[in-house]
C-alpha cells in the first residue's frame, strides 16, 4: 500500500491557473486537512482526487495506479450539502451503495442478500448514532444527522479514501463537536485515508494528522490570472496521531487506571468496546 501520490499537478480553467506545481505524498491511513483562504483551489484539488475533474498537467496515483477520471467506489465522499438521496429513507440511503453494487440491473436486492445488506446497514447506522431513525426521510433529519447519514452511506462501500468537502461547515458548534468525535472514531476504526477540506482551523487541528495549507504565492492583481495557488505549509500534528492508536493526550483511560503516564498497553481506540458512551451519543428519539 503506498497511499496517494500527487506529482507536479496543475489545474487551469482556460487562462486562469488555479493550482500550480502541487507535489504531495499522502501516507495510507493519514487524515489530511486541506486549509486555505476562499478560492485557493482546495475544493478543486479535492475534486481531482474524487475524479470529478481532470488535472491539466501532472499525475495522481492511488496505491500506485493512476486515478480514473471519474468518481468510483474506492473513493467515498461527503459534501457539505446534497450528500444523501432525499427520496430514500435513512435505511435506504445506507443500503444504496451495496445494493447498487450487488444488483446492476435493478439496483435493488431481495431476500437473503437484502437482509444481509440491511443488517450491515443497521449496524452502520447504530455506529453513527442514527439507530431508530431508519424509516425517516432525510428531510426529517437535522443537519448534523444528515451528515452522519452521509458518512454512514459513504462508509458502507469501505472506500480506500474518504473525501470530505467542508462536511461540518454548516453545523452548530455543539453538534459539530459531537460529529468530530464520531469522525475521529470512524477514522480510527475504519481502514481508510481521509482528506478533508475545511475552513475551520480548529477543526483541522482537532481531527487531522497533517495539515496542508494552499495559498497563492503571488497575489497582486496583475499576477492573479497566471499564478495559481500551491502548497505553502505542511504541518504535521505533534504529538503524532496515528490511526487505530490514540495518543496519550486523547487516550481513554483504562479501567482502574487514572494516570496516563503509567506505562502499560495503549488504551486502544476511542471506540467504546463494552458499552456505548451514553453521554457522547445520546439515544435518539
Amino acid at each position: 500500500m503506498s497511499g496517494i501520490e500527487i506529482r507536479n499537478l496543475w489545474k487551469e480553467y482556460g487562462d486562469q491557473v488555479v493550482l500550480q506545481n502541487v507535489d504531495l505524498t499522502i501516507a495510507p491511513r493519514a487524515f489530511i486537512a486541506l486549509v486555505g483562504p476562499s478560492g485557493c483551489g482546495k475544493t478543486t484539488f479535492l475534486r481531482m482526487l474524487l475524479g470529478q475533474e481532470a488535472p491539466t498537467r501532472g499525475t495522481i496515483t492511488l496505491d500506485g495506479a493512476p486515478l480514473p477520471h471519474e468518481p468510483g467506489p474506492d473513493r467515498g465522499v461527503v459534501f457539505q450539502r446534497y450528500s444523501v438521496f432525499p427520496h430514500m429513507t435513512v435505511l435506504g440511503n445506507v443500503m444504496a451503495g451495496p445494493e447498487l453494487r450487488a444488483s446492476r440491473l435493478l439496483g435493488r436486492t431481495f431476500g437473503v442478500r437484502r437482509r444481509a445488506i440491511a443488517d450491515e446497514a443497521h449496524a452502520m447506522l447504530a455506529e453513527v448514532g442514527l439507530a431508530g431513525s431508519e424509516d425517516k426521510y432525510p428531510a426529517q433529519l437535522s443537519g448534523g444527522m444528515q451528515q452522519r447519514l452521509a458518512l454512514a452511506q459513504a462508509l458502507m462501500m469501505k472506500p480506500k479514501v474518504l473525501l470530505l468537502d467542508e462536511p461540518f461547515g454548516a453545523l452548530d458548534p455543539g453538534i459539530r463537536s459531537d460529529i468530530h468525535r464520531l469522525m475521529k472514531r470512524l477514522w480510527n476504526e475504519v481502514p481508510m485515508t481521509v482528506v478533508m477540506v475545511t475552513h475551520d482551523l480548529r477543526e483541522a487541528f482537532t481531527l487531522a494528522t497533517r495539515i496542508i495549507a494552499f495559498e497563492r504565492t503571488r497575489d497582486r492583481p496583475e499576477e492573479r490570472l497566471r499564478y495559481g495557488a500551491t502548497i505553502t505549509r505542511d504541518i504535521l500534528i505533534w504529538p503524532p496521531r496515528s490511526a487505530g492508536k490514540t495518543t496519550i493526550w486523547d487516550a481513554d483511560l483504562l479501567p482502574g487506571r487514572d494516570d496516563p503516564t503509567i506505562p502499560g498497553p495503549i488504551a486502544g481506540t476511542t471506540w467504546p468496546k463494552e458499552e456505548p458512551d451514553a453521554d457522547a451519543y445520546p439515544p435518539l428519539r
Binding site: Q52, L100, A139, M157
Partner: protein, 272 residues
C-alpha cells in the same frame, strides 16, 4: 395591522374560497331571471329548471336514435382520447426527457430539436394530421401528444438537470452505473415533478381534445358542444362545460393525491 399580515382562519378561509362560486351562481340566476322575465323563450341564459331537465335528458335517458346515454358515451369517448394522448405523451417525456436531462450527448442532439418543436403551434398542425392520419381517433390522439409532449419533455429534462451535481457524484462513488443513476437516483426524483407538470398540462390537453372533436368526430364532449351550438342550446353547453371542468379538477386533485401517496418524501422536500 398591515393587510399583508392578516391571515384568515381555517373556517373563514373555506367560506372565502366558496365566495366567488356563490357570486357567480347568483349572478347567473339573477341574469337568467331578468332575461326570462323579459322574453320567456330566451335561450342565452336558460333557467336552472331547464338545465336540470336537459341534464336528466342527456345523462339519465337513453337517446332515442342510438340508445346511448349521451353524456356518458361522450365522456367515455373523450376521456379515452385524452388518456391515450396524455399516456403516450408521458411515456415519451419519461424516455426522451430523462435521456435529455442525464446524458450530455443526447442533450446535444435532442435539446435544440425539442425546443424548436415545442414552439410549433399544435393547432396549426391539425389539418395536416387530418389529411395524413384521417379523421379517426389517431389524429385526435396525435394532436394531444404533439401539444403536450414537448413541454413535458423539456420540463422533465430541466428538472433532471436541476438535481444537485453532488447527488450524481455521490451515486458514482456508490458504484452506480449510468443506468442505475438514471433509474434509482434521477427517475424517482423527477417523477413527482412530472406529475406536477402533468397537472398543468391537463388544461392544454382538453383544449386540443375539444378542438379536434369540434372539427371532426361523431361523439365526444367537444363534439356535443359544437353540435348543439347550432341550435343555441345553452342548456346543454353550460352543463357540458361544467362537467369538463369538474373532470379536469378531479384529475388535478387525483394527481396531487397520487404524488403525496407514492412519493411522501416530495411533500417533505417542498417545505424546505
Amino acid at each position: 395591522m398591515r393587510l399583508i399580515n392578516v391571515r384568515p382562519r381555517r373556517g373563514t378561509a373555506v367560506l372565502l374560497a366558496c365566495l366567488p362560486f356563490v357570486v357567480l351562481a347568483l349572478a347567473y340566476l339573477v341574469g337568467s331571471a331578468v332575461r326570462l322575465a323579459e322574453n320567456p323563450s330566451d335561450k342565452l341564459l336558460p333557467a336552472l329548471s331547464t338545465i336540470v331537465q336537459t341534464v336528466k335528458l342527456y345523462a339519465f335517458t337513453a337517446d332515442r336514435r342510438t340508445g346511448l346515454y349521451l353524456l356518458w358515451s361522450d365522456s367515455a369517448a373523450s376521456l379515452g382520447r385524452l388518456f391515450a394522448g396524455i399516456g403516450i405523451a408521458t411515456a415519451l417525456a419519461l424516455l426522451l426527457g430523462l435521456l435529455n436531462g442525464i446524458l450530455p450527448v443526447v442533450r446535444a442532439v435532442l435539446a435544440p430539436f425539442v425546443a424548436v418543436v415545442s414552439m410549433v403551434p399544435p393547432l396549426a398542425l391539425l389539418p395536416i394530421l387530418f389529411i395524413v392520419l384521417g379523421l379517426g381517433e389517431v389524429s385526435k390522439v396525435t394532436l394531444i401528444v404533439i401539444g403536450v409532449a414537448p413541454i413535458l419533455i423539456r420540463d422533465l429534462a430541466l428538472s433532471a438537470q436541476a438535481l444537485p451535481r453532488e447527488q450524481i457524484i455521490k451515486a458514482e462513488t456508490l458504484s452506480a452505473s449510468t443506468w442505475l443513476i438514471a433509474t434509482r437516483v434521477v427517475l424517482p426524483q423527477v417523477l413527482p415533478r412530472l406529475i406536477d407538470s402533468l397537472r398543468l398540462q391537463i388544461g392544454p390537453a382538453f383544449l386540443f381534445l375539444i378542438a379536434a372533436e369540434a372539427i371532426s368526430a361523431d361523439s365526444g364532449l367537444g363534439y356535443r358542444i359544437f353540435l348543439v351550438r347550432r341550435y343555441l342550446s345553452m342548456d346543454v353547453i353550460f352543463p357540458y362545460v361544467a362537467w369538463i371542468t369538474l373532470l379536469a379538477v378531479a384529475m388535478d386533485l387525483g394527481l396531487t393525491a397520487l404524488r403525496r401517496r407514492v412519493f411522501p418524501w416530495s411533500e417533505l422536500e417542498r417545505g424546505r
